[in-house]
Symmetry: C2
Subunit: 394 residues, 2 copies
């Protein structure tokens, strides 16, 4: 186990009706709020109107930034920054899933920064201050509601990059599983895979001696595998939505990665895809993950991949490589059972752009830590995932 420093400062209000905490939380920071949200779903669900009523009753003035898209754009961030400055906003309130929250984070950081917020992603500037941020989560997936990370796309440069700072950790997050009842099936499936992928990126690590972190990771994977299909079949099953929502937050709040080197190669590769094609992040991960697993499997990585197969999928057997392979097959089957596509070709990715993606993904160096991936490794994974033709996915 490696040394680490960690803190989980977000106040979590979890459960049915927890919106009742909103006014008190907001008023801790001020009365002028930037309300960041996506499309019309919060209007259809009635949440939007509920928020306006709460604001009215509590003397809170919302300034609205609607229309934040999935794979949120730097242009939305710039709009938000402008509004925050113009109206002297005191709190940024994100209502939605990870895209909305990530956008809100960079608005919070960008408001007091004199340059352009894209500088935080190109490493031209560091985040040294941010407006306080609150979240109302409507989709279990990214865990952004409990961490200081954000991923933003730049539509002009076709880049999708991440940044992070403890200053971006939400002060509070309201997690009402009922808000996720209306999440459509593909998003429910993609969200489940996104959570699992966050666990994988931290579980598959070269650091030895991290027994507690690894068993916690397996607990979260089992939860996704148990409840993903239930949430898909019964969208208003509270138990399933609640377990997925809380697991989503725990999977990326720092707990699983504390004390170990983490990987993130699959995420880095996926970002190159969704930077160009605007693919749902979790769908891209669902396609790539089994091909990444299959590619990195060797004598050295087999024990950990076999642990995964044994402890998460209950695969028996003493030969690590063989057990690991069954675990990868199970993973593939599971993603397919969620009705997610199995190849990049199926979702419209073009073969002639794979080299460009592999080059961009490795532009700053090799990816991953569980197994280091250079340009050719990444290209091979992309090509395999494009064709969808490995033995285990037949």
């Amino acid at each position: 186990m490696l040394n680490f420093d960690i803190q989980f400062p977000t106040r979590i209000h979890f459960g049915r009706g927890k919106i009742e905490e909103l006014a008190r939380e907001v008023l801790t920071y001020g009365k002028k709020v930037l309300l960041v949200y996506g499309g019309g779903s919060i209007k259809r669900s009635g949440l939007y109107e509920q928020l306006l009523n709460i604001f009215k009753e509590s003397g809170i003035t919302p300034i609205e930034l609607p229309g934040v898209q999935s794979n949120p754009r730097i242009s939305s961030v710039r709009q938000g920054v402008k509004l925050c400055r113009e109206y002297e906003v005191e709190l940024v309130l994100a209502v939605g899933g990870g895209s909305t929250i990530d956008c809100a984070k960079i608005i919070a950081a960008g408001t007091g920064y004199e340059g352009d917020a894209w500088d935080f992603f190109t490493r031209r500037a560091r985040i040294t201050q941010a407006l306080p941020l609150g979240c109302i989560l409507t989709l279990a997936a990214t865990g952004s509601e409990m961490n200081g990370n954000a991923v933003i796309s730049n539509e002009e440069t076709e880049e999708k990059l991440g940044t992070g700072s403890p200053l971006l950790i939400p002060r509070f997050s309201i997690l009402d599983p009922e808000y996720s009842f209306s999440v459509p099936p593909e998003q429910t499936a993609a969200g489940t895979v996104d959570i699992m992928s966050h666990v994988f990126e931290q579980y598959f690590s070269p650091t030895p001696g991290t027994f507690i972190q690894d068993r916690l990771a397996e607990a979260m994977l089992k939860t996704c595998i148990h409840y993903g299909p239930i949430a898909l079949a019964k969208p208003d099953n509270y138990e399933a939505r609640a377990n997925l929502m809380w697991t989503g937050s725990l999977a990326l709040n720092g707990l699983l990665g504390a004390g170990k080197r983490t990987d993130w190669a699959t995420h880095d590769i996926e970002h190159e895809i969704s930077a160009i094609y605007d693919v749902t992040h979790g769908l891209g991960l669902a396609i790539l993950t089994p091909y990444w697993m299959y590619y990195v499997l060797d004598e050295k990585t087999a024990p950990r991949l076999a642990d995964y197969a044994r402890y998460v999928w209950g695969i028996e057997g003493s030969e690590d490589l063989a057990v690991a392979r069954v675990g990868i097959e199970k993973t593939t089957e599971f993603f397919r059972s969620l009705h997610l596509a199995g190849s990049l070709k199926e979702i419209g990715v073009e073969a002639e752009r794979l080299e460009e993606m592999a080059a961009k993904a490795t532009a700053w160096g090799a990816l991953g830590s569980f197994k280091k991936l250079e340009y050719l490794d990444v290209l091979t994974i992309l090509q395999n995932a494009y064709k969808g033709n490995t033995a285990f996915s037949a």
Copy 2:
């Protein structure tokens, strides 16, 4: 799953050499520190001298409260409160295990309270303010380093009572597993059981639909079962000490109990024993736990106790009651393998005081939530634990 509100504000500095964070942390709060510690172990280990050097170099003035005992006394608290007032202390710094930290917490709360600190335990007064608190942990057990709870004994009234407040949550805790290398075998064993008992008290619950919490609990139990014997056999095994230390913090920081009713009957019963006999808390728990499990096992509780047997101990079988019984046997065997006593008689408890303990334990009402325990239930558990004669412990 029930609604919950949670936050984990303690800054954790985990690992070898993390004492390097101390001066910076302390100076955030001030220069006058009450240094709370126990016996001579921090002097023998060299930690005490190291602390004095750090304080000297950083211009920090320590005021010392040594001699805090296990099952810390309200008299130590009163001494500490007096020192804090006299020297206008700005931060209370606990160096030790749970007893020292609990004592430091109530000193922190008592300093600004005009009455006597025992009032917090008799419900005469609520904690409304507290000095900031920092911890340097030397023993993996209570989890006090990451929560707002404290248990204090009153030697005059032979009471051992608990209280808690978010105001008592340590601002920072330094967790260096090397500090626990010198923990003697019985304390290592008792600490491991204490961690497991904290997990049990939250795992065995009547609340349905808490899959993620339950799998996380099993992860922690497996960690204790894996590393307890290693730490006992090789006291300076860093991996074992690190996994136990971090698990100890996570087991009682609120994570496992969030969203469910918790039990705590075994703890409540044990407190009556250690209030009179000054028994090591974890030893008392090791004796009581199997008898509690055995007593509460019935048709209704069998599924959860069988889950425990299956997922933690790998017991196979389809009949819940039978599987559960094997799980309880395994638990008993495990505690014995740590060389802990198996009956209350062995540790000097007197048969004629069991009724008094049962009465005191249930004075404020029935115990537990997994299965409600009235006076006669508690007495039977105590009598069984006294004799140590149930079939499974033969």
